[in-house]
């Protein structure tokens, strides 16, 4: 088993951390994992991508992911400027922060794969007070795919955040996870 995931977002939204977070969480559940970013000169607001591989065998390949099983999009405006679904497998899934819902996105992105959406920006502003959508999309990914357990994600939060951000991010992940679970499974 090898699952390949590509994350798209904008600098400042935590795109790199999203993939890293899931690499740490995946390993906790007994998988081999590898995450890495494509860096530009990292500027806030510019498009950023990161990659995640989850496997039951040691991972040796380090090339970028061109035919992902899943694409996770952290910023709804990216659909205007970046071909985020490039190479997405037809039996794969697009998991997006997209307030207008999956039907509109499916038409807009013109893809045959499954599409699941969540209003992650709203969730992040409500709970964090800032539009940083990475943890919401981490929860959404796990809820939509069922690959990782909610409990594991919550434990991983403690390794990535400090102070008040621990509980807030646990809450975001839980809400996003449950929302997506209802829609997708």
């Amino acid at each position: 088993m090898l699952i390949e995931v590509r994350f798209h977002g904008r600098g400042g939204q935590g795109v790199v951390t999203a993939a890293d977070f899931l690499a740490v969480a995946g390993f906790k559940e007994g998988y081999y994992t590898l995450s890495f970013p494509t860096f530009g000169a990292e500027k806030r607001g510019t498009p950023v991508a990161s990659f995640l591989r989850i496997s039951d065998e040691p991972i040796v390949v380090r090339d970028e992911i061109y035919q992902p099983d899943y694409v996770v999009v952290l910023d709804p405006s990216l659909f205007e400027s970046v071909n985020v679904t490039s190479g997405l497998k037809s039996d794969g899934m697009l998991i997006a922060n997209y307030p207008k819902g999956p039907e509109e996105l499916k038409a807009k992105a013109n893809i045959k794969s499954k599409v699941a959406t969540i209003n992650a920006t709203k969730l992040a502003i409500e709970i964090l007070g800032r539009p940083i959508t990475n943890t919401a999309m981490v929860g959404a990914f796990a809820g939509a795919t069922g690959i990782l357990k909610l409990e594991t994600l919550k434990k991983t939060v403690e390794e990535f955040f400090k102070g008040a951000l621990i509980e807030k991010n646990k809450l975001i992940i839980e809400q996003a996870y449950n929302q997506m679970r209802e829609v997708c499974r």
């Binding site: 890293d20 740490v24 390993f27 007994g30 998988y31 994992t33 590898l34 040796v60 380090r62």
Partner: protein, 395 residues
């Protein structure tokens, strides 16, 4: 699900795998200047230092890479175990000092997070920076993954500090591809490293009790002998390294091979490369073998001293050899290819020299597979690969 996960295994970033290993080696002086993609190595070390995790150690921040290397020359000459990390322009700025460190026979250990050279400015990965220090008298070891980088640090000290060697040691790890990757690393424990790596006890060091001079004036009647001694040390390093690699395999349970690792030694065709791309090549070679192509893989680990004898032995019956370089000696060809052709002088094997992935250009699996397959079939020759068509403007 994997059945055996070693309990010390943790998912960490490449940076941390280096920083943690450095701490376990108990250095006395650490000095560095930050540069992407090395920065988090020294940030992690600085944090550990601030938390009091280093004993008998000074962490010195420097105003440049030149200063950092200079400070370490002084510290190492005074008998300290030293560490620094850098890459690209930082390594080039250090180079004046590093040639001196080698000449003074100082076993400084540095990690180079391989990055392209300017201009144009690129923060991304290739091997051009460390290649520029090929002739410095510095041992160069290239690693494939973050576990190998982690394991390389204690071995580097043990090799560099060996009396028969006494040369700087540079561990070369791919910037971004390794440094920024989170992956499982079996983190060593202190007692294993303490048992493996004794404290550094230099024979000659700066002390007021027995004054010495390092790196002083050498007129023509003595200079050449110093260079011969360095060359002899490099030659001796080959066997010291083999011994240390073997010992490491025994104590850690992880065998990274010798100067080379050979996959499918009886193959008719071989791919030779080094660094993090080797992981992908393993996969590609297995896929090509399933298609009936008798291809093997040589992962070159030690670039200096260059293991020419080992390569001659392993490639004695190869028909065709494809060298994948991620750097070029402008005006000639890929650096590894140049070395390999020299090592294999007199052999009849055809050697195809390909330069790929400069400045962080991704090397996708399918692209690599096609390149190798076509080279074996005689449909692809030497040169740059994966280059877009462009119009060169000649002013």
């Amino acid at each position: 699900m994997p059945t055996e996960v070693v309990w010390m295994m943790k998912v960490v970033r490449g940076f941390y795998s280096v920083a943690h290993a450095v701490k376990l080696c108990r250095p006395n002086v650490i000095c560095a200047y930050p540069i992407t993609p090395q920065t988090e190595i020294v940030e992690n070390i600085a944090e550990m230092y601030a938390n009091g995790e280093f004993e008998n150690c000074r962490y010195i921040t420097a105003e440049s890479e030149f200063a950092a290397a200079s400070i370490l020359v002084g510290a190492s000459a005074a008998g300290a175990r030293t560490f620094t990390a850098t890459c690209s322009q930082g390594l080039i700025l250090m180079s004046e000092v590093l040639f001196n460190a080698a000449g003074m026979r100082l076993p400084i250990v540095l990690v180079n997070t391989n990055r392209a050279l300017s201009a144009p400015l690129s923060i991304w990965n290739d091997l051009q920076d460390s290649m520029a220090l090929r002739d410095a008298g510095i041992i160069q070891l290239y690693v494939e993954n973050n576990q190998e980088a982690h394991d390389a640090i204690p071995q580097a000290y043990k090799i560099a500090e060996n009396r028969k060697v006494l040369l700087p040691f540079m561990v070369c790890m791919d910037g971004f591809k390794l440094t920024h990757a989170y992956e499982p690393v079996d983190l060593l424990d202190q007692s294993l490293v303490d048992n493996f790596l004794p404290p550094y006890k230099p024979e000659a060091y700066l002390t007021t009790k027995k004054p010495l001079a390092f790196g002083c004036y050498a007129p023509p009647h003595v200079y050449m002998e110093f260079r011969v001694a360095m060359q002899n040390a490099m030659e001796r390093a080959k066997s010291v390294m083999r011994d240390v690699f073997r010992e490491w395999a025994e104590v850690s349970g992880r065998n990274w091979g010798g100067h080379l690792e050979v996959v499918h030694p009886d193959a008719k065709f071989f791919v030779v490369s080094m660094g993090s791309i080797v992981g992908l090549l393993r996969k590609v070679v297995e896929e090509l073998r399933k298609e009936g192509i008798d291809v093997g893989l040589i992962k070159l680990r030690t670039f200096r001293p260059f293991p020419a004898e080992d390569l001659r032995k392993e490639l004695s019956s190869a028909e065709k050899i494809i060298v994948l370089d991620r750097s070029i000696s402008l005006g000639y060809e890929g650096n590894l290819s140049i070395e390999l052709k020299s090592a294999l002088y007199g052999f009849s094997a055809e050697i195809i020299s390909m330069v790929i992935g400069l400045g962080g250009r991704d090397i996708p699996k399918e692209f690599l597979k096609d390149l190798i397959k076509n080279a074996i079939l005689g449909k692809e020759g030497s040169g740059f690969k994966g280059v877009k068509e462009f119009e060169e403007v000649i002013p």
